[in-house]
């Protein structure tokens, strides 16, 4: 079932649910006719979008809010932090084309800061599904939860069977390994899986964790693999200054686990283009990831 179908079903079951958008209709194109007055388009006005959603939530509604990830989380950031965050209102923020999914759009549309910003709001869940299937599996619980959430929306197709069900705040252990464990999420999970296969073929024992939630992070799962593996690799389509990498190193530092963490992510905005070319150019395709991990493991002392 598609995201739109799932959301429609949730809205039919729960009369509190309203669907809002700042004229970002791609994920919900069929809903205006099906939801009538419960579909609200405010036009290209992200601050008003979030403020209105906060007002609707104050009145007991559960607004599911759609906009492009960079404009939702950055232009409207203070409205999210203040109007939604302070009161912990149940506003559900759905960010379109996050991270590498902005492919050909260029730096204005690259949301490489959203996870850091949203994680910084106390009580905000941050869900980064690897594919549309994870997204639709998690959606009912996300909408039903008391507090706010931010979702990195994706339409990527599911490429594998799950080993573990999609549960709030829980990572999925895709594989365990003694030499190195890859920590990945979202659109880069398939790349990390390819990289893992390549590294295993070269004789390494390689684990893979699909994090799914970046807030709350599955601290126990990360600590466990950090004790099992000689090194971790944090893989993210986000700035490494504020994304997964500092979150993981903080956990290890707090728990006094001395395992090395190799950061792979962005330090600057990336070169835009076709999706596969973006991954290749940014060093995030499976083979490029495998080569980067190998090179890092061969470096001594860092």
């Amino acid at each position: 079932m598609s995201y739109e179908e799932t959301l429609h079903r949730i809205a039919l079951e729960d009369p509190r649910v309203l669907v809002l958008t700042a004229e970002n209709r791609a994920p919900v194109r069929g809903l205006p006719s099906r939801l009538g007055a419960r579909f609200i388009d405010v036009g290209i006005a992200e601050q008003t979008l979030v403020g209105m959603a906060a007002g609707l939530a104050l009145a007991g509604r559960v607004p599911v809010v759609h906009a492009l990830a960079p404009f939702l989380t950055m232009r409207a950031f203070e409205f999210i932090r203040t109007d939604v965050g302070i009161g912990g209102l149940p506003v559900k923020l759905i960010g379109f084309i996050p991270g590498v999914l902005s492919d050909g759009n260029g730096p204005t549309h690259q949301s490489l800061e959203d996870i850091g910003l949203m994680r910084g709001i106390p009580g905000m869940q941050v869900f980064c599904p690897a594919d549309a299937d994870e997204l639709t599996q998690a959606l009912p619980a996300l909408v039903a939860a008391d507090g706010p959430c931010y979702v990195r929306y994706t339409t990527l197709a599911r490429e594998r069977d799950y080993q573990e069900p999609v549960l709030p705040g829980r990572a999925e252990v895709c594989a365990r390994g003694q030499d190195v464990t890859l920590l990945a999420f979202g659109a880069l999970l398939p790349c990390a899986e390819q990289a893992r296969a390549k590294l295993e073929a070269q004789g390494l024992s390689v684990g893979l964790l699909n994090l799914r939630w970046l807030a709350p992070l599955d601290e126990a799962a990360i600590a466990r693999v950090a004790l099992e593996s000689r090194a971790l690799v944090s893989i993210e389509d986000h700035f490494t200054s504020s994304g997964l990498y500092p979150a993981v190193t903080e956990i290890l530092h707090r728990r006094r686990i001395p395992t090395r963490v190799i950061p792979i992510g962005f330090e600057r905005w990336f070169a835009a283009g076709r999706y596969q070319d973006v991954l290749e150019h940014a060093g995030l395709s499976g083979p490029r990831l495998a080569a980067r991990v190998l090179a890092a493991l061969e470096q001594k002392g860092s």
């Binding site: 309203l18 007055a37 419960r38 609200i40 405010v42 036009g43 006005a45 601050q47 008003t48 979008l49 979030v50 403020g51 209105m52 959603a53 906060a54 007002g55 609707l56 939530a57 104050l58 009145a59 007991g60 509604r61 607004p63 203070e78 409205f79 203040t82 109007d83 302070i86 009161g87």
Partner: protein
């Protein structure tokens, strides 16, 4: 009660609220000028217009007042205390951390709907509340108090556009038009005039009033209530620091840590001298605008 008696009852409430506001300014200072500028509007709203009371503070159909210019909160607290939402003694603990009474609205105090302080936020929040009320057929009316300096914020103009597009006729914005930003007159820094025309051009119903004259305020809200099919805005012409001649209209009267006995004596003198409105009458008009 005839109109004169009603007005004088409101004036007594406003005088009492001004005394409480001045007392708060003596306990660590507050945004005194802004509070004195809008306090008559709040006295009118909570006495005559808003269907909300301590007993109905959780009623889903109660009317909503949102103070978007959050720094004027002493006026809200003084009026809420007078209306019985919480004991007036709480205000004597202004800025004591455990009291929860600080320089911007604290929604954990009874009667305070939402926090504010960062300008440009609560118009859109009010729009969400108004939209919810319309969707469920609630008689709820939503009132949002904006500062005129606050109209510098882009989110306000975004909200004005969207509220008109969604025809939120149960939404009333009130502009506390005291013509002073924090430090500089509005017309010197970022001119707003012709403000009524601007709002009318955004397809809001617009009415102006003397924001210190209860009968003028009453006529303006009555006109706003007659609007249908679009939101309305009451431009309340006010004086920052109203009631304290030494402060009135002064650009340095923004934040005041006052000597309470001196200020209270000044308030009593000014009230005796001009028991009715003391500012030059600015007139009323209703702007038309495209429908």
């Amino acid at each position: 009660m005839n109109e004169t008696e009603e007005s004088s009852a409101l004036e007594r409430r406003a005088l009492r609220a001004r005394r409480d506001i001045i007392a708060m300014s003596g306990r660590g200072g507050c945004f005194l000028g802004a509070a004195l500028s809008c306090v008559d509007l709040l006295v009118y709203l909570y006495s005559e217009l808003l269907r909300v009371a301590p007993a109905s503070a959780e009623d889903p159909d109660r009317d909503i007042f949102l103070m978007s210019k959050g720094h004027a909160v002493p006026a809200l607290y003084a009026v809420l205390a007078e209306r019985g939402f919480f004991p007036a003694e709480l205000l004597e603990r202004h800025l004591q951390v455990e009291s929860g009474v600080y320089w911007h609205p604290n929604p954990s105090l009874p009667g305070v709907e939402l926090q504010s302080g960062s300008l440009g936020h609560l118009l859109s929040v009010g729009m969400g509340l108004a939209l919810d009320a319309r969707l469920r057929g609630s008689p709820r009316q939503v009132y949002v108090l904006l500062g005129d300096g606050e109209l510098n914020e882009g989110s306000i103009w975004e909200g004005l556009l969207v509220a008109a597009a969604h025809q939120l006729s149960n939404l009333v914005a009130i502009v506390d038009r005291n013509r002073l930003q924090a430090n500089v007159p509005t017309e010197v820094l970022i001119p707003l005039e012709p403000l009524a025309d601007k709002l009318a051009a955004f397809n809001w119903g617009v009415v102006s009033c003397d924001g210190h004259d209860f009968s003028s305020i009453g006529r303006a809200f009555a006109a706003a209530a007659r609007e249908s099919g679009r939101p309305s805005c009451v431009i309340a012409n006010t004086v920052r620091g109203k009631g304290l001649p030494s402060l009135e209209g002064r650009t340095d009267g923004w934040f005041v840590n006052g000597h309470v006995p001196t200020l209270l004596a000044e308030l009593e003198r000014a009230t005796q001298r001009a028991p009715r409105r003391s500012l030059p009458y600015v007139g009323e008009f209703e702007a038309g605008g495209p429908r």
